[in-house]
């Protein structure tokens, strides 16, 4: 027992020390080959120089890795001849990590983050400009004008309601009315869903003179929207509460709505505001300082391409941005997409201010 522990400790330490002096090349291979890592680390360490071609490992930070997606993804990548190392990390944590690692970047490709995060990274000079070979076949409005990040899939954020609920509002802004008090559930503003919906409402009231760039009216609206809501407690069954009518409405992401409908054999009402729904666009980007730029571009061409995105959708219910893929997705996704349209949002403005807006809401509006 003691020996085993000592041996493990020694191995860890050796790796740790090697890592300390490490340069960018020090990225061990995928977890597929458990025991051999130590050797590989030191090998790449001693050689010190880049090996050529596609036998290099691409390190990907993504919030699209949970629920078996990471395993599926690395298998697919391996079939296509790419050696990938997937780091499963939430969107805002991924941003924090990339920013903090600026002087010693570990990550090559960012995948799945939304515009808010990419705009922050862009402003912090953490991204590399590039251009995939599939820009023609995606919605041009979703592409970053400066050419840093490109869309792969979208997640509309919706307000769903109990099938028999009669007062379904026509827009998020209706919810501030007295009759909706405590009738709708919101997710925490720390997470992507809650934050984006909130930003999509607040940013409608842009006013350069106003506090944090928002007019007086906008803040009234924000206060009502947050203050009127029921906050979803951790572990609470928000969907179940919609179905049994405890809280007849819920803020939810589209793919989740479809799975819940299937699992619980239920059909929700879906609010379709005239301005459209906030579409979270999941994009691809290359991190500044990568020494495998060309390989990354080639990899992103493959990952964001029609074929791969269709497979991804068929397996995990995403809504692909590629036209051709979108035409071939499953029926329930196509039906849903048909009734939705993306709200026109100023992402740069949102990215710049959203943290301050959330801060204000957390401090002043939440109960």
């Amino acid at each position: 027992m003691k020996k085993a522990i000592t041996a493990m400790a020694a191995t860890m330490m050796a790796i740790a020390l090697a890592g300390c002096g490490g340069s960018k090349e020090e990225t061990a291979p995928v977890k597929a080959d458990g025991g051999e890592e130590t050797a590989d680390v030191s090998a790449s360490e001693s050689s010190g120089s880049k090996s050529n071609g596609s036998d290099e490992t691409i390190c990907i930070y993504t919030n699209n890795a949970s629920d078996g997606r990471a395993e599926w993804f690395s298998e697919k990548a391996a079939e296509a001849g790419y050696d990938v190392l997937i780091v499963d990390v939430g969107a805002s944590d991924a941003t924090n990590r990339v920013m903090a690692e600026r002087n010693n970047p570990l990550c090559d490709v960012l995948f799945g983050l939304n515009n808010i995060e990419y705009e922050k990274l862009k402003a912090a000079d953490c991204l590399e400009q590039w251009k995939p070979d599939w820009t023609e076949t995606v919605d041009q409005n979703l592409i970053d004008k400066d050419g840093y990040y490109y869309p792969v899939s979208t997640t509309p954020l919706l307000l769903i309601g109990n099938a028999d609920y009669e007062n379904m509002p026509s827009d998020w802004t209706d919810l501030v009315q007295e009759k909706y008090k405590g009738q709708y559930q919101l997710h925490g503003l720390g997470g992507g869903t809650g934050k984006t919906v909130y930003a999509s409402i607040v940013s409608r009231y842009k006013d350069p003179e106003g506090e944090l760039g928002i007019s007086e009216e906008g803040w009234e609206m924000a206060k009502g929207f947050i203050g009127n809501a029921h906050d979803i407690a951790e572990g609470a069954d928000s969907i179940g509460d919609v179905i049994d009518g405890t809280y007849p409405m819920d803020e939810h992401w589209a793919s989740g709505v479809l799975t819940e409908q299937k699992n619980r054999d239920y059909k929700f009402q879906i609010m379709t505001p005239e301005v459209g729904e906030p579409f979270v666009v999941e994009s691809l980007a290359i991190v500044k300082g990568t020494d495998k730029y060309d390989l990354c571009v080639e990899f992103c061409n493959w990952l964001g391409g029609s074929e791969m995105q269709l497979e991804w959708s068929n397996n995990f219910g995403t809504i692909p941005c590629q036209q051709e893929a979108l035409e071939n997705v499953s029926d329930d996704i196509r039906e849903l997409v048909a009734v939705l349209k993306p709200q026109d949002l100023d992402w740069a403005f949102i990215a710049e201010n959203v943290d301050a807006w959330v801060e204000k809401a957390e401090l002043e509006f939440m109960q």
Partner: protein
């Protein structure tokens, strides 16, 4: 040269202890002070000016003030209730002669192997709308509100019975170290059982109780899951807010400010406790300690009452964990709705655990990291506790506040401090860059566990009999020999308890790991989070239950090895089998 050695001899400076001190000072400056100060400066200084915006913002926020108030109410209340239940639990299992105390102690130990969201959800299953207790109560009192288990009392109830881990570990050690002669002597002089308990037993244990009180206070101040899940709109606490703000670049100063307020409150309590501690004398005088004999409660009514209380508590402890075990075999929908039917049961959750061939790896990574960190922390804790309790110089006492720094900041910010400081070569580290190396997470694990470990080990040192050491010295033992052969064996139970508790709590660590882990070494916390991420999977909660059960198994093994003589038993078994072979 001769002069120098003479000087050394004169001033009683030993080279090894000087080297140790220099190392500790370097460690404290490099990992406890510099990164955190660097972060705070970064956070509070905006455009070259010290910003007090955070204070105004917090003062203006009714929610922040209310949450802070709630946190303090909960902390103060739980000091009382957790100490009562914790002391009772230890008395029932170690001091009084209660029938079936072995079984009871197994029940009371359950808090050592699970916690957080899963524990609170377990309680919610029992006392919530669809829970068994609620159903029974509703049958007794029709018309009762099924949603009764919400708000302050619900949170306090959960705290009271789930916060006794430290009592179970350290108070048990303390009571076992009690000298039975003192009790016998008191009895011979005609003291009643009550008098013995309150005048002899509890006072001797008070250094440990003080230390545990601080930990309880801190745990209640920074509790997350309890208020979030059963607090309801009226009883939310401050830590969820701190966490949200710590994760947002522009709001970190508020997180830091709020955390510092909590930290200062803890420091004040710490000071008060130390003052009280100084007044007392906790060392039992006898040189030949006798083993404690369990006390039968003489008063028959009291005896029956004690049994009833003990077994009621046992049921309270067991119901949630049984629920967790049962629900881990059901599908996600069952867990969400809390309704079990015949076809709710499935093994699919467990099957998912081992779907890929490399599924074992995160376990290995986390076990290695946690073990290394827990061991390193224990060594540092012993060294500093020794210096602080033995040192005569003013400077020696300064180790204490320095080593408690990590209590002042939430773990997210400690991670960020390390990342922001060691992303460039620094002289303190011999110009090594820490970021993006496997070692940074290990350091962070060590850092966050230092204050707790130090505080518990210090309590053990306070209760140490100085005469033993003197005797060793008189007989010519060198200082390090004395530590190894005399002091360490006495404090070893506490040190091992610290190691086990740290190991268990680091196994599924997430808050720090998410920022610091190296992609090649994914720790368990990350894997669990990704398997239990609600946005990705409907079975998220089922998976979090399954992982909890797996962690329970690992934690139980760790407990057994570290605390309950597991290593010895294994050794004996090996010896026996060897003997058996030789004999033939």
């Amino acid at each position: 040269m001769n002069k120098l050695t003479a000087k050394f001899r004169e001033s009683n400076i030993s080279i090894p202890s000087l080297a140790l001190k220099i190392f500790l000072i370097w460690f404290i400056v490099t990992f406890l002070i510099f990164p955190n100060v660097n972060l705070l400066l970064n956070v509070f200084i905006k455009d070259g000016q010290f910003s007090t915006d955070a204070i105004t913002k917090v003062m203006k926020s009714t929610r922040a003030i209310k949450s802070l108030k709630n946190s303090f109410i909960l902390a103060v209340a739980s000091i009382v209730t957790v100490n009562i239940s914790g002391i009772l639990v230890v008395l029932f299992t170690e001091y009084f002669d209660i029938k079936g105390s072995k079984l009871l102690s197994l029940g009371f130990m359950t808090t050592l192997i699970y916690g957080g969201v899963v524990l609170v959800t377990g309680y919610k299953f029992v006392y919530g709308e669809t829970g068994i207790v609620t159903t029974i109560l509703c049958n007794l009192y029709p018309g009762m509100d099924r949603q009764w288990f919400v708000g302050f009392w619900a949170v306090l109830f959960i705290m009271t019975f789930s916060g006794t881990s430290n009592h179970m570990m350290f108070l048990t050690n303390a009571i076992r170290g009690l000298d039975y002669h003192t009790i016998e002597a008191a009895r011979n002089m005609g003291a009643s059982q009550m008098t013995i308990l309150f005048k002899i037993v509890l006072p001797t244990m008070s250094p440990t109780i003080f230390a545990i009180t601080i930990l309880t206070f801190l745990a209640a101040l920074s509790t997350m899951s309890g208020p979030l899940i059963v607090g309801g709109p009226d009883f939310q606490t401050i830590n969820p807010m701190i966490k949200v703000f710590a994760g947002m670049q522009g709001s970190r100063e508020i997180a830091a400010l709020l955390a510092i307020i909590l930290g200062l409150a803890t420091s004040i309590l710490l000071l008060i406790m130390q003052r009280v501690e100084k007044r007392g004398n906790y060392i039992s005088v006898s040189k030949t300690k006798a083993r404690l004999v369990k006390q039968k409660i003489e008063n028959p009514i009291m005896n029956v009452a004690a049994h009833i209380v003990a077994y009621t508590m046992f049921v309270i402890y067991m119901l949630p964990i049984i629920n967790v075990l049962v629900f881990s075999f059901t599908d996600g929908l069952t867990i969400k709705t809390g309704m079990i039917t015949a076809d709710s049961f499935t093994l699919e959750n467990y099957a998912k655990l081992f779907r890929s061939a490399t599924a074992y790896k995160p376990y290995l990574v986390s076990v290695v990291y946690s073990l290394l960190a827990a061991t390193a922390v224990a060594v540092i804790g012993v060294a500093v506790a020794r210096i602080v309790t033995k040192g005569k110089k003013k400077l020696d006492k300064l180790f204490e506040p320095a080593i408690l720094i990590p209590w002042l900041l939430p773990s997210t910010m400690i991670a960020l401090g390390l990342m922001m400081t060691y992303d460039v070569p620094r002289l303190l580290l011999g110009t090594k860059v820490l970021i993006a190396t496997p070692v940074i997470m290990l350091l962070a694990y060590i850092i966050i566990k230092i204050p707790f470990s130090y505080r518990m080990i210090r309590a053990a040192f306070i209760g140490l009999d100085a005469n033993m050491e003197e005797a060793a010295k008189v007989m010519g033992a060198k200082p390090f020999y004395t530590i190894r052969k005399v002091i360490l064996p006495i404090i070893m139970p506490v040190v091992l308890s610290v190691v086990v508790l740290n190991f268990n709590s680091l196994l599924a660590e997430y808050d720090l790991s998410v920022f610091l882990y190296h992609p090649s070494f994914q720790p368990l916390g990350i894997v669990i989070k990704s398997a239990t991420d609600e946005t990705a999977t409907v079975d998220a909660q089922a998976m979090s239950f399954v992982y909890t059960v797996v962690l329970m198994v690992i934690s139980t093994i760790a407990l057994w090895l570290g605390r309950y003589g597991g290593i010895k038993q294994i050794k004996n078994m090996i010896m026996k089998s060897k003997k058996g072979v030789n004999g033939r």
